[in-house]
Amino acid sequence: MSKIGEVVQRARAAFNLGKTRPLQFRIQQLEALRRMIKEHEKDIAGALTADLHRNEWNAYYEEVVYVLEEIEHVIKKLPEWAADEPVEKTPQTQQDECYIHSEPLGVVLIIGTWNYPFTVTVQPMVGAIAAGNAVVVKPSELSENMANLLATVIPQYLDRDLYPVINGGISETTEVLKERFDHILYTGNTAVGKIIMMAAAKHLTPITLELGGKNPCYVDKDCDLDVACRRIAWGKFMNSGQTCVAPDYILCDPSIQNQIVEKLKKSLKEFYGEDAKKSRDYGRIINSRHFQRVMGLMEGQKVAYGGTGDAATRYIAPTILTDVDPQSQVMQEEIFGPVMPIVCVRSLEEAIQFINQREKPLALYVFSLNDKVIKKMISETSSGGVTANDVVVHNSVHSLPYGGVGNSGMGSYHGKKSFETFSHRRSCLVRPLLNDESLKARYPPSLAKMTRH
């Protein structure tokens, strides 16, 4: 058996011993995870700086805080979530106990990605642990420093058999996917999502796929453009645009395009100064391949701001493109970089049509002071999630499930939804084993019973 096979078998054996069943055990593990995060916050920030040029502030506020909040919320709610849930009974089942019983699935695989390498790997772990599973974690090799950190610290705080970290590239991931799991949660791109689902199908393993897409951002004429552009700039350019729920492109009327450009520029200068390269708060592209890819998207476009990059540091300036042709390359793939194309549309209807001709995105944004516009945009489109008059933040509400639809994914998690995703909720009916007289009516022979129609 391969080394990876052994690790997975060990996790399964540990699960089968029943260690994770008591809530107390799960809570202890979550508390240990919390301690790990607080005690290693500097190391986490250091890894993020090395991988993505992040700093201690955004390491905390754009990654760590989500996980700490999740742990807090889950520890508090776990006894309630894990309890048997009585359900409404029918007249014939009044004497019975009818309830839904939550159980762990078994061994869960979490495959992380590189853009928020801490959050997307560890936040799902919280729900999986809370639901009583063993969890095999495969961080992304592209965010190398974080992968190494997780492999080092997690075993120092959590049960080593139940929560192993497996590192490696494509061949290790392929190896892991041959093993049988009871749920797989994958964050990444659509192409790999299909491969994961295929692999899962062989074992009938349920999956949660957090994928991506081109998240449209419609800016209405009737809108406070200062506020809108500030918020859009914040969500778009954080982590140098490498955020799955970032607004990917703007749709607006041509009459406000210039104002949008000016206000985005103003906010960008406020955030990152005249030269973002000098800002401690502005990120870098994860690797050369992605750097080349994003730079390529700017070719042939009208650059209203930015448009430059430095391959040596993988820096790409915050860039705004105007009058973008929907057929051009920048509108054909998820940008995942600090390039904001603006596509002009003449009406809300045209914007809606534009959006609906494309794959369902992970997020959709609409800025307007007019409730009717917001309502119409939401009812006539589909996406994983929506925020109106802001961007990204629907992600941070733990009572809202976080997930995609269509090409942007399937399944969801965060908060209670995580617990549900990683549990089997078993329908139970328990009846007293009394004499059967009252049940006589159901038994054959039935001839006597069929007297009415």
Binding site: K89, K194, F271, S279, H290, Q332, R358, S396, P432, P445
Partner: protein, 486 residues
């Protein structure tokens, strides 16, 4: 999350089979266009479809009963109880609750979003494919349909070709009751199903075997189509020494031989001690005689096996262990007597595959622990049953095993509660449905946050540049209970 494919581009039709060779392209395009035009969104439309379905059931009840009798020798009683009534109840439940189910579901907010409106919007996926089996061909085709229609989807129904008479009624009569721009029935066999599965659907609901479940999920993977798979397994039934054998036998026999054992949640085999076996056998014989008479073959309440292939398969299983009750069969009628087998070995064929017939093997175990180990060595079943007067025993079985659903001192009566969903786990499936769970299964739950354009001051803290004072905030926040400042 990035890739070289044109994912942002207009939806990719490239994966569809070429026109001309493809009998379904037109139908599917028509349904997609109707969906895009928004036809299925209004509650009134969905209610009209559900009412149409209800009228179909009412007006063709007799036709359906005859079809079920032809396909499975199903008695009028069984047809009523497990096919027609149950479907009608689901329709009525959906009609009564549709508007409430469709409403946005408000959710609690965290501190930072108190001023915003946060809710979950239920939306249809789009084009749904329902692939149904032959054993409850009305129930298992139409109950999923109720959920898919209620949720506002356009639906393609693929009934089973094995329940031929029922398939005919569904293909020829049902469409007249529904809006055919949003609904289609595709009859046919594995070839047609394969061709259908090449196309992109927005949701696939499949009921059938684990083997075919894998094929469906692999096909769905090509289009990233989410699925619900209602599969099967060997549903264990533990009978404790502390029980009244006749009561247990009555319940066991009824749930085992209902629909001639062709029920995905039927008790598949019994685990009990040799002593209990001795008490159960005469009780089972007594129950069988009471239900089906001295000559079960002439009972109108006992069905027949669906096909020659399954009949041969089941007849083969009669050779396992030793026949304690029944064992008779007649090929010309595809009749198999209600049978109990004893002295069955774990490796024999009857213990290696889901039986799906009127044969009940009894396997001896010497303790509760041994029974639990036996169960846990095998794939997670769709259902699991435990009979005991002792509550502790029932609870132990529940706590130390896993299965789709669980019945304590009862068979699959839990199916009559719309508040208890039906679904598997592991090899027995993924996803669940019935009642509101159907509506939720066929809906995308879209997370929505309506933020306030004003009060920008509150957001100040999240914007760069991140100065030293902010870093102090970080240390403070880390030291205390954290809060998000987003």
């Amino acid at each position: 999350m990035s890739g070289k494919e044109g994912k942002g581009a207009a939806k990719d039709p490239g994966s569809e089979p070429t026109l001309g060779m493809d009998p379904f392209a037109d139908t599917l395009r028509r349904l997609r266009e109707a969906f895009s035009a928004g036809r299925t969104r209004p509650a009134e439309f969905r209610e009209a479809q559900l009412r149409g379905l209800g009228r179909f059931l009412q007006e063709h009840k007799q036709l359906l009963q005859e079809a079920l009798a032809q396909d499975l020798h199903k008695s009028a009683f069984e047809s009523e109880v497990s096919e027609i009534s149950i479907t009608q109840s689901e329709i009525n439940l959906a009609l009564r609750n549709l508007r409430a189910w469709m409403k946005d579901e408000k959710v609690p907010k965290n501190l930072a979003t108190q001023l915003d409106s946060a809710f979950i919007r239920k939306e249809p996926f789009g084009l749904v494919l329902v692939i149904a089996p032959w054993n409850y061909p009305v129930n298992l085709t139409l109950v999923p349909l109720v959920g898919a229609l209620a949720a506002g989807n356009c639906v393609v129904l693929k009934p089973s070709e094995f329940s031929r008479s029922t398939e005919k009624v569904l293909a020829e009569v049902l469409p007249r009751y529904l809006d055919q721009s949003c609904f289609a029935v595709v009859p046919g066999g594995p070839q047609e199903t394969g061709q259908l599965l090449e196309h992109k659907f927005d949701y696939i609901f499949f009921t059938g075997s684990p083997r075919v479940g894998r094929i469906v999920m692999s096909a769905a993977a090509k289009h990233l189509t989410p699925v619900t798979l209602e599969l099967g397994g060997k549903n264990p039934c533990y009978v404790d020494d502390d029980c009244d054998p006749q009561t247990v036998a009555n319940r066991l026999a009824w749930f085992r031989y209902f629909n001639t054992g062709q029920t995905c949640v039927a008790p598949d085999y019994v685990l009990c001690s040799p002593d209990t076996q001795e008490r159960l056998l005469p009780a089972l014989q007594s129950a069988i005689t009471r239900f089906y008479g001295e000559d079960p073959r002439s009972s109108p309440d006992l069905g027949r096996i669906i096909s020659d292939k399954h009949f041969q398969r089941l007849r083969g299983l009669l050779g396992c262990g030793r026949v304690a009750i029944g064992g008779q069969s007649d090929e010309s009628e595809r009749y198999i007597a209600p049978t109990v087998l004893v002295d069955v070995e774990e490796m024999e064929p009857v213990m290696q595959e889901e039986i799906f017939g009127p044969i009940l093997p009894i396997v001896n175990v010497r303790s509760l622990d041994e029974a639990i180990d036996f169960i846990n060595r095998r794939e997670k079943p769709l259902a699991l049953y435990a009979f005991s007067n002792n509550k502790q025993v029932v609870n132990q079985i529940l706590d130390r095993t896993s299965s789709g659903s669980f019945g304590g001192n009862e068979g699959f009566i839990y199916l009559t509660l719309p508040s208890l969903p039906l679904g598997g786990v592991g090899n027995s499936g993924m996803g669940r449905y019935h009642g509101k769970f159907s509506f939720d299964t066929f809906s995308h739950h879209r997370a929505c946050l309506l933020s306030h354009p004003g009060l920008e001051k509150l957001n100040e803290i999240r914007y760069p540049p991140y100065t030293n004072s902010r870093e102090q905030l970080v240390s403070w926040a880390l030291g205390s209970h954290s809060c998000t400042l987003l």
